[in-house]
């Protein structure tokens, strides 16, 4: 199948280095301490953060850092064909773990000993790149909850199809079987916290694809920063400062 046509356009009309439209909103679950919706094209996820609060399971309590937990779940209606998978399958367990490790790397856990932070991400619509979208949503939700972090984490994926590096794969491109590189970075410190790839790729090409994904992460980071700034301004004006 042709994923990039001779004019250099992808299936959904994007250019190879173009990201889908992103949109974020803070404070969508009013009961949670922090929450956010993050959309990348048709992919839409909600993240909610509860905590820092008392540790529920005493045996997991730690005296020098906070316990970070994460659960990833997909709504039955999130996929094209209705999903019939039970909760807690291997894929969601793996993604929960990835998100937890990525977020743990940026949260200043040593400031909140003997407490617990729960991150719940819920996929409403899956159209490729749910992993990245979940991490971006979780970052926003953590920031909304006022949890101290060394930097925000942003994530984006890139692939390589028809001899072209492609930014931000959608579902069709993702299921083409080509390599899919997911990167998560701390944009201010310029460090990589998450790097995953499936399928195979030439060493030199990999460098280019990874660089493309990092550029994507930076673009997401500047958008997220804008959203957070806007949110803070609103909070400020509501307080009448």
């Amino acid at each position: 199948m042709e994923y990039v046509n001779p004019e250099g356009l992808r299936l959904d009309g994007r250019r190879p280095m173009e990201m889908r439209q992103i949109r974020a909103e803070i404070g969508v679950v009013s009961k949670a301490d922090g929450s956010a919706v993050f959309e990348m094209g048709n992919t839409k996820v909600i993240a909610a953060v509860y905590g820092p609060r008392e540790v529920q399971n005493r045996s997991q309590q730690s005296n020098d850092h906070a316990l970070v937990r994460c659960e990833y779940s997909m709504a039955n209606f999130s996929t094209g064909d209705r999903m019939r998978k039970p909760k807690g399958d291997r894929r969601s367990t793996e993604i929960s773990l990835v998100i937890r490790q990525t977020m743990e790397a940026c949260i200043l856990t040593h400031l909140m000993p003997r407490s617990q932070i729960d991150i719940f991400v819920q996929v409403l619509q899956a159209d490729g790149g749910t992993r990245s979208a979940c991490i971006n949503a979780a970052t926003l939700a953590l920031a909304d909850a006022g949890i101290p972090m060394s930097d925000i984490v942003t994530s984006c994926s890139a692939g390589y199809l028809n001899g072209t590096p492609l930014l931000d794969l959608n579902y069709v491109e993702d299921s083409a079987g080509g390599p899919d590189v997911t990167v998560g970075i701390l944009p201010k410190l310029d460090k990589v916290t998450l790097l995953q790839m499936d399928s195979k790729l030439q060493m030199e090409t990999f460098e280019n694809v990874m660089q493309l994904a990092i550029e994507g992460c930076k673009a997401v980071a500047s958008y997220i920063r804008e959203v957070l700034l806007e949110n803070t301004k609103q909070l400020e004006s509501r307080r009448g400062v």
Binding site: V29, A47, A48, R82, G88
Partner: protein, 281 residues
Amino acid sequence: MVGLSLGEQNFIKGGISQDLRTDGRKRLTYRPIFVETGIIPQASGSARVKLGVTDVIASVKAELGRPNPSYPDKGKVSIYVDCSPTAEPTFEGRGGEEFSTELSSALQKCLLGGKSGAGAGIDLSSLCIVGGKVCWDLYIDGLVVSSDGNVLDALGAAIKAALSNTAIPKVQVSANASSDEQPEVDVSDEEFLQFDTSGVGRHYIADATTAEESQMSSAVSLSINRQGQICGLMKRGGAVLDSSMILDMISVAKHVSEQLIKRLDSEIAAAEACDDDEMEL
């Protein structure tokens, strides 16, 4: 679940006895309802309903399937509800399963009627394409995103809104005299199918928040259709109730649901109009 001090508990109970609840509502007033339709483009129909802080999403997906051999002229509808841990940390893992099963079975009882589909809120024979061969399978999925009491009513409203938003392709069957067992199905223009569903009401205090629910001894959930008939009834909570009290609750619920159906209709109409406008733009 909800940690309330003795003072808070008395405050809630005192407020209810004086017909002025903690959020300023009267005993039988509902919280503001907010409806948004067409939020999941991949589904045949979808809606999001906010009832105060309670926030639920319902989606309808239609698939072609084979009718049940015992009821060849009827389509199939199934309802599943899922509680997202975003709503309540205790729903993590399998924690929400009991609550979701309770919600799904209550909704199934009110909307789907008996096994044969008799007394159902949804007209199952309208889902049949070719008797005994092809019919529509409707999968209704509810998702609880945020819960602050009265999730059942919010889900009922969301399903109603999602169904009125549902567009199923109009199917024409060309009966070729070939030996094909499966008839050929043409999926052409879209036609809107509108179903009649019911409003769910609750008595003595209507539309309780989580804090109020924690103080309740028992609750009766009732689903009533436009004609004022009861489509389903469920008593929750272990406390014993006088049978005359239940009848009294039912009559009040009927009264409340009339207003609720009206309000919901206008909200859904507004949401649909807004949706259409966006499409034109």
